[in-house]
């Protein structure tokens, strides 16, 4: 008898807790979030506070970088088992800036759903995983976005023989989408704005999403356009699939760090800017040594660490940018190596060109 009473009491307790939780507004919401003291002692493994991340990375001897492992061109594992791709190269660039050695990185493959928790809990130092910069993510997740490394937009891929030409043809369609992406939200927004009825079929990983699409579970699959181009190559017969012209959204993709360590945030920001600056100055991995030996240009000299002690201001050595360019390359080299004309993707630079060529890449001066 008493056992049953115990059970029922337990159940009531849980239900009560759930109700209280759902009643949100008046109970738990009352906590003032704004009075948090910033100088919290560093707890456990998660480094927090000024300079703590750089110190933790240096003590550890390598960088832990959260990446995608299922997106050819951006983050994937090649036949030899090495991580390759555009985002992966940015991890190498950060390692080169800190250690002067691009190989000092440990990669953590993450799904779209896992990525923010991995960053919040300090499991990774920086997240470079084709992640879209949005206001909500910048504020509510406790994360900060470094400058955009790739300007993308959401697209939709369909079978050629389906006869679908524009968004309106998708009325009643099943659309495969990955969970935890901005894509999932944009799709809902755009379709409801146009009054198009559709049913989302939601999966956790890109492999599942594109697998289900290929099996014919969905009429269409949606993701960032770059991801569609990249995944199309992996389908059985790429020529049978087309990407619709319509662009559903702006998708600026870039690295993220935890809030609360501005020095680390600065390092990631300026690593990105250094790759832009390299391209602007025409310095690449092949000519950097020659330029370093010969240059008289004060801006180039500051960039390459010959004067001005720029690196020390970031907490790094002065040849930080030189190391990035030397071992990883400038933006154009990173782009061409992973997505350029000699790759299966052959993505045009588009918005991702330097401002000098009419694109959006613009780095503040290094001085």
């Amino acid at each position: 008898m008493s056992k049953r009473v115990f059970y029922i009491l337990g159940l009531l307790l849980i239900l009560g807790a759930l109700l209280a939780a759902c009643g949100g507004q008046n109970s738990s919401n009352a906590q003032p979030v704004k009075t948090v003291v910033v100088t919290v002692e560093a707890k456990g493994n998660a480094a927090s506070g000024q300079g703590a991340t750089l110190k933790a990375v240096k003590d550890r001897g390598y960088l832990v970088c959260g990446v995608n492992a299922q997106l050819p061109g951006f983050g994937y594992v090649d036949k030899e088992g090495n991580y390759k791709g555009f985002d992966v190269d940015y991890c190498h660039a950060v390692a080169a800036a800190i250690f002067g050695d691009p190989s000092k990185v440990e990669f953590r493959p993450l799904t779209a759903k896992e990525r923010f928790t991995a960053l919040q809990t300090g499991e990774i130092d920086v997240l470079i995983r084709n992640t879209t910069w949005t206001l909500t993510r910048d504020t509510e997740l406790g994360t900060n976005f470094a400058p955009t490394t790739f300007y993308d937009g959401q697209g939709i891929m369909v079978r050629k023989d389906s006869g679908i030409k524009k968004l309106e043809d998708l009325d009643g369609a099943k659309i495969c989408v990955a969970t935890g992406t901005t894509t999932e939200l944009n799709l809902a927004d755009q379709m409801s704005a146009r009054g198009i009825k559709y049913t989302p079929v939601v999966f956790e990983t890109a492999d599942q999403v594109f697998g289900a699409y290929e099996e014919g579970r969905c009429d269409a699959v949606t993701s960032d356009k770059s991801a569609l181009v990249s995944r199309r190559v992996t389908l059985k017969n790429p020529a049978n699939h087309i990407i619709l012209d319509a662009t559903l959204s702006k998708e600026p993709l870039g690295p993220l760090v935890r809030q609360g360590d501005d020095q680390w945030f600065d390092i990631i920001k300026w690593v990105v800017f250094a790759t832009f600056t390299g391209e602007e100055m025409g310095i690449n991995s092949k000519n950097v040594d020659k330029i370093k030996a010969e240059t008289k240009d004060p801006n180039v000299r500051k960039f390459l660490g010959l004067e001005g002690e720029m690196g020390q201001k970031l907490g790094l050595s002065d040849d930080w940018a030189y190391n990035i360019i030397k071992y990883v390359g400038n933006y154009a080299e990173i782009y061409d190596r992973n997505l350029g004309p000699n790759t299966p993707f052959n993505l045009p630079r588009g918005l991702n060109a330097s401002w000098k060529d009419g694109g959006l890449l613009y780095a503040p001066p290094i001085r």
């Binding site: 049953r4 059970y7 337990g10 159940l11 849980i14 239900l15 807790a17 759930l18 939780a21 759902c22 949100g24 738990s28 919401n29 906590q31 979030v33 948090v36 003291v37 919290v40 707890k43 456990g44 998660a46 927090s48 779209a112 759903k113 923010f116 928790t117 919040q120 809990t121 909500t136 993510r137 509510e140 997740l141 406790g142 009325d171 009643g172 369609a173 099943k174 969970t179 935890g180 999932e184 939200l185 799709l187 809902a188 927004d189 379709m191 409801s192 559709y198 049913t199 989302p200 079929v201 939601v202 999966f203 956790e204 599942q208 289900a212 099996e215 014919g216 579970r217 935890r258 609360g260």
Partner: protein, 391 residues
């Protein structure tokens, strides 16, 4: 030698000290873990709050039993997930029980073929992980159905394609609510008939056909009510809706998605194998003398099973059956792998869009715990009811 034992050697005191030490250790470790979590969350500006449940979700969910759109709240999205889990678990438990009992009986059959078939089924299914079975059902069976354009149309019409199965279904009309009340009245009447007939049976020693009469009462009320509602509302409480292919989808009728079908089939066929073994064990626990005695009294095979074997076997069957039901409910969270929007899947999306890992996980644990406790309470009550009353 009546010297008082010093307290550090007094067994009663030592026992108390051990208990208190243990309690303190538990409290301290729980407090430490909690404190650690709160500190870590505070450091990231993420103090626990369930405020996000009131915010707009912004994403769509493929299957929902209650009205839901992208402008609904996270709380409602969560509820959609809860209901989807309840739907698949509830139906799964019913069908797994029926299939499990049939296979369990086959396993005990003296018919060689039936017996071996059941053994092979049980051995294969029990020794393959459920996740593998789910993926098999999803990609190996339901996604291999013909495309919608070449869909197979069975009589009904029932449209079978790799978009799932669409079949004719009743759509509630204006009179449906009234009809539900009439059905309730029918249920009460049937219960009264049951109770009266059982009383009469006990008094006279001749048990009338209780089940038959009470079912007839219910069906009678249901039929009369149907006619009455049709007369009053000028339309039947349920209108027939048949599916048809329209563009990229099927319209009308009841649509069962491949995700639901795969999850449902996987759970039913998997759990049925375990239930079959539970049923077999239960029946074999009834002593042979009971069956021989029943036969000697002139009961036939079915009567022996229904009146003598099953009531006794149930006592052995019910407790392990409870844990199979709990397993089925909890296993339904594997739905996330085949794209069915169950509680775990939807909660995962909410967690991701809001970044509220701790709160969402707590909510999810609470819901699964409630499901399990509710099932346990019901099954324990049932177990107590059928227990052998010893005099």
């Amino acid at each position: 030698m009546n010297e008082a034992v010093p307290f550090w050697r007094d067994e009663r005191v030592l026992k108390w000290i051990a208990q208190i030490t243990f309690l303190v250790a538990v409290v301290v470790s729980v407090w430490y873990l909690y404190h650690n979590m709160i500190t870590a969350l505070a450091a990231r500006n993420l103090l626990p709050s369930f405020h996000f449940l009131k915010l707009t979700a912004g994403f769509d969910i493929g299957e929902h039993l209650i009205p839901y759109s992208r402008s609904s709240t996270y709380g409602r999205a969560f509820l959609v997930g809860v209901l989807n889990t309840i739907e698949v678990s509830f139906l799964g438990i019913i069908f797994a029980t029926i299939l499990g009992i049939i296979i369990g009986l086959m396993r005990l059959s003296t018919n060689w073929l039936l017996n071996k078939l059941a053994s092979i089924y049980i051995e294969i299914i029990r020794n393959v992980p459920l996740l593998v079975l789910l993926v098999f059902w999803y990609t190996g069976v339901f996604l291999q159905f013909p495309r919608l354009k070449q869909a197979k149309i069975l009589p009904g019409p029932t449209i079978v394609s790799n978009r799932g199965i669409a079949m004719p279904w009743g759509i509630p009309t204006a009179g449906w609510h009234t009809y539900l009340y009439i059905l309730l009245v029918g249920l009460i009447l049937a219960a009264i008939v049951w109770w009266r007939l059982t009383l009469i049976g006990k008094r006279t020693g001749r048990m009338p056909l209780v089940t038959v009469w009470s079912s007839l009462t219910f069906l009678g009320v249901a039929a009369v009510g149907w006619g009455l509602v049709t007369l009053i509302f000028h339309q039947a409480p349920l209108a027939m809706s048949t599916p048809e292919i329209k563009g990229l989808r099927t319209v009308g009728g009841l649509e069962l998605t491949p995700e639901f079908l795969a999850l449902f089939s996987g759970l039913v066929f998997y759990t049925a194998a375990f239930i079959a073994e539970v049923v077999r064990a239960g029946i074999q626990s009834v002593s042979k003398g009971q069956i021989e005695a029943a036969r000697a009294l002139g009961l036939n095979g079915f009567q022996t099973l229904r009146l003598v074997v099953f009531p006794q076997a149930l006592r052995v069957i019910v407790p392990p059956m409870t844990s199979q039901y709990l397993n089925l409910t909890k296993n339904s969270s594997l739905a996330v792998f085949i794209g069915f929007p169950d509680l775990y899947s939807v909660a995962g999306t909410i967690h991701n869009q809001t970044g509220r890992a701790v709160e969402v996980t707590l909510l999810m644990m609470g819901v699964y715990l409630s499901f399990s406790l509710a099932t346990s309470i019901f099954m324990n009550w049932y177990n107590k009811k059928i227990r052998l009353v010893e005099r």
